[in-house]
Subunit: 676 residues, 2 copies
């Protein structure tokens, strides 16, 4: 039990650093002019109102679920579940508060130069990354400590903690899907009327949906995305611990090891954050990437040391190389994602070029390159799986344990990844505030530079997150197989194939439901924005103010209403398959959902990013520039890509994690009561 | 061996009927005015030139492949392979000739009323359906007869005949992909310049790409689609015979049975065709559907009789109910496809409605409903699989044999299905000819009515074909497992998961390559059409004729160039996986490709159909009608859907069949030489 203490220490250190960064940001940076503060306050109000309403809606769901879990598996599982829900909610709420405060301070700092602005944006993102990961690792290690004193069998402790993971993931799914619908409803509504119909610029304060759009960035990209990554983080961690307990008969080193690897990732992130700085002649993107690579290096060294200290012989090397294989695969996936979505690479250039033949060809091109972009990531995932499998075998380690530690390694530096990712919406919002308050041209330019760096980092971390989710959920899938005691799942058996088909159907189905919800809500938003421009006199001339709150309300209502069905579906479907077709078919179901989940997530994230950048490429003055036919075509492509990359795509990771967790948590019941 | 004779008789009867119908059509129906004959001749010339060039290009491929097969597995396999390629080529060539002759005769007959016009179009389609199925069943039964005298072991005979199936499928893939690229290159090129830029109507003779467009309907929809369905037909048949031979140790009844079921399907189709007639107050669509249902009924009765006569006891009932389960599942899938693509149902109406908010929302809506449309089909396939599995077990029949007979039953009435499907492009072309030659309004109206019926039937048969392909390829997958002697394919093994991921990647990848090819070629076509309008003086005024041949040539060259990579990929990929990762991973690979193959095929076919009909709904005068903003948005959606539904979607069935056949044919080599 000695070494285990490192994990909660890492968690606490992470949380304390986050709080310090937050306080320092609040103390050292001003929030700007009165107008800036006014906008910031409106965003804050809208975002908090949404999160409050979301929490109220979900509270009922959480309580019902907790009751079901309590009756079925005892109150400890129910308690874990509630704690998981709370942890996710708390972390994303805190992260979002920090981000909203960072937005306006970034804009203000941009008035005194790039360096200062970058620092505050980066601090804002880091508060999110460090607090969310800190809470996660602290909670898991404390729960493990507590339950290992309650239950004699460590497996039982871990199965109880699965409830925590389930709670975190279920909440993450709702946060991600709801936030994703919210943000794109507002974004599309604002763009379609403002940019397309009335020809007013983006982020123009006359646009009634502009505040809703800014709020959306925060509830969708910051809160939702943080919840998404941390749910993979927790699920992968517990899966590895469970596989360790199962395979090595509860030998404590193998259970502790995944926690310690995560802890070394946290320390590496803390050290890495100190090294992110924009020097002279450098740019923000390079600074972020440098920090990222440095963190990975420190992580590898720390992990090696920890494993050596733990003393599990050659097994240690197996774990080390597996973890490193995961990490490298993650980086490769990130880099190829970058290739497919970068504004100066073939896929984006071709897609932009094809806009000249009209919107249809632009869409076909982006969709096709989006599919092609799947290949390197899938091959990367397969290689990481096979390498960690073989490395594990080579060092006499259980191969499933090898794969699960690869998954743990891949997301160990999550604090850095989330920090970099949260940086994106912060600078995006900062740019919006600069434009809404009519700041000088050079300030907007600095904000633009920060924003461009944010887009690249976002693409890389998104690829990374999907790759990591794939490995995590594979580890979780093995954990499921262990819990239900499946050694063989015969793929030649039609019942398994049936399960595979049904499972494979789920991620596309979820995507469709979310995209339809965005379309429907955007329609309402468009009507409302049109109405305001029609009915509020003097709005177009800037003499009167629009009714921002009405638009915020439409986005919120629609999002909450629409996320219920897909959320419930993700929980009901695996149970339905399990109870009617049995645990083997459910295994097939999970495998099927993982396969198409990853494929659709990659496709949607990358094609969305590609359309976005193709549009930006044209807006930069190429191929006729703004207002040309090619630009109009590219705007249509970008609008199609919006719910792909920010609503449906990012919800899929979480959905497959939730479904696998549902199956694993309910496995004992399914084994007992399945029809056949 | 007694009963086997029924199969070649059915094949001959089918071919003879086809020839009679063809001769009767040629004798009884005139080909119309000089201008009509001129257009018809141009279409014929273009289509034959393309097929000739395609055959020349593919001849090299076929010979190289035959040499590889000959060296690896002996000359009988090579011979089967060449025969399979020839059979497909011959059948699709003959079918296309008949269709082109039927086009113009339909137009001409429309001048004397609906009944006559329907009859000739239906005859034209039937020639295609009957000849292609007749050749298939004749060839398989004769080959089986010949090889069963060469080899003592019936399994060896059947493995040799697999070469025939491989030849037919490989050619079908090339025909489908090439034809699909050709037809959409021409279609999009003609539309983008003609309809969108110059505002001239569809099928206007001034449009230089109009003949290429008509040719495309024939090489894509008639020749390609016929080849596609028949390759599933053959593959499913041989898979069932092989499973029968393997499971029942070569007992002849179980090998003959699938052939006899197919024979009864042929007879049922022959009888059914006699009953298709448009009475007073009836419409063409209803007539086709009546014929279809009647055929299914006759098929069920005949199959029951044949099984009784064969005398395999209770096993017979197992086979019968399995076959019927397959047939019913096929119909259910067809009907739900119809729901999702019908012009008067919610999905199309909503998609049309969403066009009012612009092209992006139209595309998002069509894409999402396309995904939703997957669900009933997938559930139908799963139920058919599980029902035939359980029915088989109930009657003591080998369950894999049960599933394979369900697959055989589902496509047994292929002659009718192909006939109905080929009816579509015939009336589509007839309508085009009517418009190009400026026939009277009431003639065009009749052609329109025929065309509308064609669209519905096409949607139903397309759903049917995809469902059938799913079952066939599952049967083939079992055949693969048997040939390589895999009893267990452990889905929990990461190597299998790796294979599953790689296989699942293939169908989307193929789609992307094909869609990109269409985009690229359409771009060239657009440039050429624009050039002709610019440089040929008097073209717009109708005083001079465009250079049709140039457009035909661009479509042909582009199609042939672009189909090589995806075609080769379908053959190389399974071999690469098999030789490097082993036969188990290859099993996972095949399963993965089947899953996403079916999902993407359904998604693309249905969303394409939906966009098409949403556009037609608006063109019928709703939501602002032609020329409105909603219409422009719907046209963009339709153009996106074109390569979805007519290029990529329909190639996927064939691709997964080819990959499974490659794996099965090369299984012995893979078992010997795989790295691990």
């Amino acid at each position: 039990m000695d070494w285990l203490i490192i994990a909660p220490i890492a968690g606490l250190a992470s949380i304390v650093t986050a709080v310090c960064l937050f306080l320092r940001m609040m103390k050292e940076y001003e929030s700007g002019t009165e107008k800036m503060q006014e906008i910031s306050a409106a965003i804050k109000e809208g975002a908090e109102a949404y999160l409050k309403r979301q929490s109220e809606t979900l509270a009922i769901f959480v309580l019902v679920m907790a009751a079901i879990l309590g009756i079925s598996f005892g109150y400890n599982v129910a308690l874990s579940y509630i704690l998981g829900s709370l942890a996710t909610t708390l972390a994303s709420y805190f992260g979002m508060r920090a981000a909203i405060r960072a937005n306006v301070r970034t804009t203000n700092a941009a008035r005194s130069g790039l360096n200062k602005a970058f620092t505050v944006a980066f601090y804002g993102g880091s508060v999110m990354g460090l607090s969310i990961v800190g809470i996660a690792i602290l909670a898991v290690s404390v729960l493990y400590y507590v339950y290992s004193n309650v239950y004699a069998d460590p497996k039982q402790s871990l199965e109880t903690i699965l409830g925590f993971s389930f709670g975190a993931s279920a909440l993450a799914l709702f946060a991600k899907a709801g936030g994703g619908i919210y943000t794109k409803t507002a974004d599309i509504g604002a763009d379609l009327v403002g940019k397309v119909e009335l020809n007013i610029p983006e982020d123009d304060p006359r646009n009634p949906a502009v505040i809703a759009d800014n709020v959306g960035d925060n509830v969708g990209d910051v809160a939702g995305m943080g919840a998404d990554l941390v749910d993979s983080y927790i699920a992968g961690l517990i899966a590895a611990m469970l596989i360790g307990a199962e395979t090595y008969f509860g030998k404590i080193e193998y259970i502790t090891l995944p926690l310690l690897i995560k802890a070394s990732g946290v320390f590496a992130s803390l050290i890495g954050i100190l090294f992110v700085r924009v020097g002279k002649g450098s740019n923000p993107g390079a600074a972020l990437n440098r920090g990222n690579f440095f963190t990975c290096l420190v992580f590898a060294i720390l992990t090696f040391l920890i494993i050596e200290v733990l003393g599990i012989g050659t097994h240690g090397l197996g774990v080390f190389f597996s973890a490193v294989a995961g990490l490298i695969a993650g980086m490769v996936i990130g880099i190829t994602t970058d290739f497919f979505t970068s504004i100066d690479r073939t896929p984006v250039l071709r897609t932009a070029e094809s806009s000249k033949t009209g919107a249809a060809i632009n869409i076909l091109s982006g969709f096709s390159y989006g599919i092609l972009s799947i290949a390197p990531s899938i091959i990367g995932i397969v290689i990481a799986t096979l390498v960690s499998w073989n490395v594990a075998l080579m060092y006499g380690l259980d191969p499933y344990y090898g794969i699960s530690t690869a998954a743990v390694g891949m997301l160990a530096t999550a604090a850095t990844i989330i920090s970099n990712d949260a940086y994106g919406p912060i600078v995006d919002n900062a740019k919006g505030i600069a434009e809404q308050t009519g700041l000088e041209e050079d300030v907007v330019e600095i904000a633009d530079k920060l924003d461009a760096a944010g887009n690249t980092t976002k693409a890389i971390t998104k690829g990374f997150a999907i790759g990591a989710a794939a490995l995590q959920v594979l580890a979780l899938f093995h954990a499921y197989a262990m819990v239900v005691k499946i050694d063989f799942l015969n793929l030649v058996d039609p019942r398994i194939i049936g399960g595979l088909f049904l499972g494979a159907m789920m991620p596309p189905l979820l995507s469709a439901l979310l995209i339809l919800a965005v379309g429907k809500n955007a329609f309402r938003m468009v009507e409302e924005v049109r109405r305001q421009f029609r009915e509020i006199s003097g709005l177009m001339e800037g003499r009167t103010k629009p009714d921002y709150a009405k638009c915020v309300d439409i986005a919120a209502r629609g999002a909450l209403k629409a996320l219920i069905l897909p959320g419930i579906l993700a929980i009901i479907a695996p149970l339905a398959v399990g109870f009617t077709l049995g645990k083997d078919a459910l295994g097939g179901f999970l495998a099927g959902s993982i396969i198409t989940g990853i494929i659709f997530a990659l496709l949607m994230a990358n094609s969305g990013g590609m359309w976005d950048n193709a549009k930006k490429y044209i807006e930069a003055g190429n191929l006729g520039g703004k207002g040309s036919d090619a630009h109009k075509a590219a705007v249509i492509g970008d609008t199609v890509g919006d719910p792909f990359k920010d609503t449906a795509g990012p919800s899929l990771n979480t959905m497959i994690t939730v479904m696998t967790l549902v199956a694993t948590v309910f496995a004992p019941l399914i084994a007992l009561y399945a029809i056949k």
